[in-house]
């Protein structure tokens, strides 16, 4: 009896029809494809994308040149020079991140005691020349200015 059932099953391609039924059902379902760039997938508030250097609300840069981020960076992507400013505070004169070396581990953000270096949610960027991959302090501060609002929102959400 089992043999006959097996024979009928294989004669009428039953198992293939079973599979085709599933693909057939998907025909009438709404596609799950995301039409990037118009539509985007959700982005976590913890996302680790392009770096930025933040400023205090009064416009003073946060980074105090403690070099913790440089020390903790596993890819040795950060290099910093510091100097004392005329008002006797220490600030960086050079702050560079090589984005080709960076592995986006997020340790620099974790290490920074004054929340200066952060990894933003920006993930769509490109370089046109090879040396553009090394972000200097001005670039980073500019991104920080641009991104400050989102960053504050992300911080709020992370606290929840």
């Amino acid at each position: 009896m089992n043999k006959i059932i097996k024979f009928i099953k294989s004669l009428f391609f039953l198992e293939i029809l079973k599979g085709l039924k599933i693909t057939g059902q998907k025909l009438s379902k709404e596609p799950i494809t995301i039409q990037y760039p118009e539509e985007k997938t959700p982005l976590s508030s913890r996302f680790r994308g392009l770096h930025a250097l933040r400023k205090y609300p009064n416009g003073e840069e946060r980074c105090i040149g403690c070099k913790l981020c440089e020390a903790v960076c596993p890819a040795l992507a950060i290099s910093i020079d510091t100097e004392e400013r005329s008002d006797k505070t220490r600030r960086t004169t050079k702050y560079e991140i090589d984005l080709f070396k960076c592995i986006y581990c997020g340790f620099c953000e974790e290490a920074c005691p004054v929340d200066a270096i952060v990894e933003t949610g920006i993930f769509e960027y490109h370089f046109e020349r090879r040396k553009d991959s090394v972000m200097n302090k001005l670039d980073l501060l500019k991104i920080g200015d641009m991104y400050e609002k989102e960053e504050l929102k992300d911080r709020e959400r992370n606290k929840l």
């Binding site: 985007k40 976590s44 508030s45």
Partner: protein, 417 residues
């Protein structure tokens, strides 16, 4: 007529079915494989050597990049080794989080394996369905750690961040109206745990879907049944672990045999095969996904009722709370010490292993008392599997080599490391 000779052929390293950068030298007698010689090393990044030059914590990120489809499991073995040398006890909550993400990783890995394996053999649609589910799990990764793949999430002493209470949501855009966006967001209203739970509730049905497409399918069976048979004795001799070993009928799973974290409190079964062929290994892996879903469910239930610490409060190895660090001098000193020099382990050596999706992933760690490993040896499950390729492929046809590579679930990040 006697001057017909065997033909030597290069398979890979650019072949789409070679799973990364595998280079195979095949000796062919017509269509039949006489010998297969895998050449490795094209993805060698010297991770073991690199680890010797960096403080312990900084290596976590490099562990992700070994087996880049089961990221958190690799980290897990590494942090277990460190905790083992330190004899460190970690909070209960972090154990559950780790186990939950280990199992999410297992599903992630098996889904990719299923999709790629089916695609290699010629079934396209399974790949698309598998990636639909993978996307949700990647979202869990992103919500908790901030990246979709290379999480750098586990830390000695626990995990780096607690589970988030909100899930990221789809945003309104010019293609979709509010209704459509809300429909996409239906399971993202609650916390991450709610999201995971809703995934786990529908996941068994998705596995049924894959099984309907493949399990009885005659083409699938013709391509996998009786291909790459390994007897139980040979499987042990060759050093197989994970589904490769269980497919041959040996019930060996580190989660049961030497339970780490909280696996001994959880309920799950270990599926084993009988024949040791590619089809059985497929069945084992499918069943493993269902078991993983069961484990995740139990972890979810536990985590929902718990509000404990997610990382150890021993500030010598785990950073103090960020708000504390800005207020208290002592915390700040700990913070600076930890992120610059790191911490020193006592002199000693250990071997810590986890049941990664592919098999036993182990870290052998020797510490000479410094803040970086003296020696780190990685035991990758894929290596012994690949080493058996010659034995498994001999006598089969050329097209079966693709099946065998697929069934071994080769990933070059961990083999070449």
């Amino acid at each position: 007529m006697s001057d017909y000779k065997n033909f030597t052929m290069n398979f890979g390293p650019q072949h789409p079915a070679a799973h990364g950068v595998l280079r195979l030298i095949l000796e062919m007698d017509g269509e039949v494989i006489r010998s297969a010689d895998p050449h490795i090393g094209l993805l060698h990044r010297a991770t073991e050597k690199l680890a010797e030059s960096k403080p312990y914590n900084q290596n976590i990120g490099y562990m992700d990049r070994l087996d880049y489809v089961s990221m958190m499991c690799n980290e897990h073995a590494y942090v277990l080794a460190i905790e083992d040398i330190m004899k460190l006890d970690i909070p209960e909550r972090s154990k559950y989080i780790r186990v939950m993400f280990d199992e999410i990783t297992r599903i992630l890995n098996h889904l990719l394996w299923l999709g790629a394996h089916a695609l290699d053999i010629g079934a396209m649609s399974v790949f698309l369905y598998a990636f639909r589910e993978r996307e949700d799990l990647m979202d869990c990764y992103e919500a908790v750690s901030g990246t979709r793949m290379h999480a750098t999430y586990y830390r000695p002493g626990g995990v780096s961040k607690d589970l988030p209470n909100v899930m990221p949501k789809y945003m309104l855009n010019k293609n979709q109206n509010l209704d459509q966006v809300e429909k996409l967001n239906y399971n993202r209203e609650g916390s991450l745990l709610d999201f995971i739970e809703s995934f786990i509730d529908r996941f068994p049905k998705n596995v049924d879907e894959y099984e309907n497409l493949l399990t009885d399918n005659r083409i699938w069976k013709q391509r996998t049944v009786g291909i790459g048979v390994v007897s139980p004795e040979r499987a042990v001799d060759l050093g197989f672990t994970g589904p490769m070993l269980r497919g041959s009928g040996i019930e060996w799973d580190l989660r049961k045999k030497q339970p780490y974290e909280i696996y001994k409190d959880l309920e799950f079964d270990i599926p084993v095969g009988t024949e040791g062929d590619s089809y059985d290994r497929y069945l084992v892996r499918m069943q493993e996904m269902r078991e993983s879903a069961r484990i995740i469910k139990q972890c979810c239930n536990w985590l929902k009722t718990d509000n404990g610490e997610y990382i150890s409060s021993n500030y010598k190895i785990a950073p103090p709370d960020r708000d504390d660090m800005k207020e208290s001098m002592e915390s700040l000193i700990h913070h600076f010490k930890l992120f610059s020099e790191g911490y020193c382990l006592p002199v000693g050596e250990t071997y810590a292993c986890v049941e990664a999706p592919k098999g036993e992933f182990g870290i052998y760690l020797i510490s000479d008392g410094a803040n970086k490993p003296y020696r780190l040896k990685i035991r990758a499950p894929g290596f012994p599997h690949l080493a058996s390729l010659d034995e498994m492929a001999k006598g089969h046809m050329l097209s079966d080599v693709v099946t065998i590579i697929g069934t071994q679930d080769i990933v070059f990040g961990e083999i070449d490391r």
